[in-house]
Symmetry: C7
Subunit: 94 residues, 7 copies
């Protein structure tokens, strides 16, 4: 298991749709769009200057949009994960 | 539904007028001007260094001017939205 | 009506004198000088790290000098306005 | 009258000596040196993060050294003034 | 023994797998991925603006992912170590 | 007299040794080294975000090392002085 | 004696090993590694925004690793010293 530190989040990226529903192959630029993924683990949050921890507004299982090209790819037991910062997560998809 | 995080805002961009009222085709530079859109959802606000949340001065339904080229485009159920930061929203149109 | 957010200010720019009082055409560099304008509306002010709002030192009707090229031009009901930040306003002309 | 905002200061620049006392024409580089001027008006001071105003250590009438090329030139009733920030003022000449 | 200062951490880098389990030689780009290592010693933590020490969320013996190319290599008694900052450590591997 | 503002310091630079004690002419790079000088006057100190003044750790008469090329040269009554910031002063020579 | 200011530290750099124990001449890149030195004097520490001094975690006599190329070289009574900032000191060697 990967336990992220500070305001980091571990995300499993969802495969990107290569085609639209009507079968048109998506140009690369379309893949520039933020990606979707699922939160696997969240860190304890950033430490504020008053010593308080700022808990993250996210939990394991949340489906999210995150900025493309952000974070670090890691591999554990043949599985690929992304370690992102909270600010790279744009929104939760409910 | 898209639930933005922190000080982010989800906006539905309004189509840009291509012509002036008297029918003159707007040059591209005119389209450089800030865009108009409608707020769809707002985040809980930025976390201040004293641990307090700074609620946003915006609510769903507000018509706004926002900086051109700011934010990330996302697509959900075939609808396009923009995820912006509070600082990208210039003013509310009342 | 345009309601600016945070520490923003809506200003109506005054036309720039093209000539000096004695009729000499002003070179462009002269137009580099800060512009004059009238404040139309002010935002609630910047949020400080202690959660307090810092009210602006400006009110509608103030005649001001502001940095050239600052802010965003917007158009509403065929009228052009500038949305500036407080720090772009240099001084009030009394 | 020009009322500067925040930590700004209005200064009337003193003409720069073109020659040394013994009549030698000063090279341009010498004119790189900080300029001298007289304070005409001071702003209320910068707003600190605790909401307190930091009054300026300057008053109208002070003769000062200020960084060359800093600030904005403005013209009012045919008089030229410089609007500077407190940090551009190096020292008071007593 | 090396006692790191502030928010620094001493890490013993683990050798990088040159090949996948099925024997394929890993391209260099794969080695761009964050590295793994073991924490040897941790500093007392960063000093916050309120004078409080922010203890690190790490302890000697933790296996971690850390950003590639971060930190300084040092050598003591023929052993190579890396001195990293807390923010270079992405996550703990449990 | 020159009264420096904020965290500034007025220093009289000491002439740089052109030769070593044994008469070897110092190369320019040697003159890159921090300069020595004497403190003439000190400002009231930087204003902290809590409104308190941070008095300087220096007083008139202190002999100091300061970073080369830092600060502004000013001339008053034919005397040359340097107006430096506290952070440009490296150490006091006792 | 040199009394460093703020969060500065005076260090006497230890000569760098030119060769490995088995006599191999070290390439320059090896000399890129952090250097070792001994602390001669420490400043009172950085001033925090709450007005408190943050004493340094170092004392005269400590053997340390410090970042190569950091700080300023000074010469006093024919002895060469380095004036560094606390953040340039990586760790204490115990």
């Amino acid at each position: 298991m990967i336990k992220p530190l500070g305001d980091r989040v571990v995300v499993k990226a969802l495969p990107q749709e290569e085609k639209t529903k009507s079968g048109i192959v998506l140009p690369d630029t379309a893949k520039e769009k933020p990606q979707q993924g699922e939160v696997v683990a969240v860190g304890p949050g950033r430490l504020l200057e008053n010593g308080q921890r700022a808990a993250l507004d996210l939990k394991a299982g949340d489906k999210v949009f995150f900025s493309k090209y952000a974070g670090n790819e890691v591999k554990l037991d043949e599985e690929e994960y992304l370690i992102l910062r909270e600010m790279d997560i744009l929104a939760v998809i409910e």
